[in-house]
C-alpha cells in the first residue's frame, strides 16, 4: 500500500529531524565542556552521546507516562485520585531518583523554575495597571498645559 509507505516515510523523517536537533544541542553542550576543560571531543563521540541521549528519551517518556497513569492506581480509602493524563514536575523528579545528588539538583531546579514563573506572572499582572496610570497622567498634562 502506497499510503502506508508514505506514512512510514514521514515518521522516519520526523524521527531523523528530531535526532538532528538533539545532535545539534549535544554538539553545543560538548563545545562548552571542551572549552571549559581544554579537551576535544571527536565527532564520533558527539554522535554517540547524541544517540544515547535520543534513546534515553524513550525510557524517560515511557516512565513519565506510567508515573502519571499510576497516580490513579492507589487504593487509598481517603481519596479517589483520577488517573492523570498530564505529566507533572513530581513525575520528572521520580526520574531522578537513582542518584542522590541528581535528585537534589533537580529538586532545587524545580523550585527555581517555580519561583521564576511566579515572578513572571506577577509582572504580567502589573502591566495593565501601569498602562492605566500612564493614560491618566497624560490627561492631567493636557489639562495642565491649557491653564
Amino acid at each position: 500500500m502506497e499510503e502506508a509507505e508514505a506514512e512510514e516515510q514521514q515518521r522516519f523523517s520526523h524521527r531523523q529531524r528530531l535526532k538532528a536537533a538533539v545532535h545539534y544541542t549535544v554538539g553545543c553542550l560538548c563545545q562548552e565542556v571542551a572549552l571549559d576543560k581544554q579537551v576535544q571531543f571527536s565527532k564520533q563521540t558527539i554522535a554517540a552521546i547524541s544517540e544515547v541521549t535520543f534513546r534515553q528519551c524513550e525510557n524517560f517518556a515511557k516512565d513519565l507516562e506510567m508515573f502519571a497513569r499510576h497516580s490513579g492506581d492507589c487504593f487509598c480509602p481517603l481519596r479517589r485520585h483520577a488517573k492523570r493524563s498530564t505529566v507533572t514536575t513530581e513525575d520528572v523528579k521520580l526520574l531522578a531518583r537513582r542518584s542522590n545528588s541528581l535528585l537534589k539538583y533537580i529538586t532545587e531546579k524545580n523550585e527555581e523554575i517555580a519561583q521564576l514563573n511566579l515572578e513572571r506572572k506577577a509582572k504580567k499582572k502589573r502591566k495593565p495597571e501601569d498602562e492605566n496610570r500612564d493614560f491618566m497622567e497624560l490627561d492631567a498634562d493636557v489639562v495642565g498645559s491649557d491653564s
Binding site: 579537551v39 576535544q40 515511557k62 513525575d91 541528581l102
Partner: protein
C-alpha cells in the same frame, strides 16, 4: 546571567510525545522545563565523565573508547 546552551522546550515536548503510548498524555510547562534541564545534565555528565576518562588515560581528545568506559555507570545513575 549568561544563557548556556540547552534543550528547547518544543524539542523536549516532541521527543517525549514520540514515545507516549496514549495520545491523550500531555506534559505541563514546568515539567517540560525540568525535563530540558534533566537532559542537559545527562549530556553534560556524559561529556564531563568522558573528559575524566581521557585525562586519566593522558589523552587530550575524548574518543568513543573513553566514552564506552563511562557509559555503563552513567546509565545506571539515570
Amino acid at each position: 546571567m549568561e544563557e548556556a546552551s540547552g534543550f528547547r522546550k518544543e524539542l523536549v515536548s516532541k521527543l517525549l510525545h514520540l514515545h507516549f503510548r496514549d495520545c491523550k498524555t500531555k506534559v505541563s510547562g514546568d515539567a517540560l522545563q525540568l525535563m530540558a534541564e534533566l537532559l542537559r545534565i545527562f549530556v553534560l555528565e556524559a561529556a564531563a565523565r568522558g573528559v575524566c576518562q581521557a585525562q586519566a588515560e593522558d589523552l587530550d581528545v575524548v574518543d568513543v573508547d573513553q566514552l564506552e568506559k563511562v557509559l555503563p555507570q552513567l546509565l545506571l545513575d539515570f
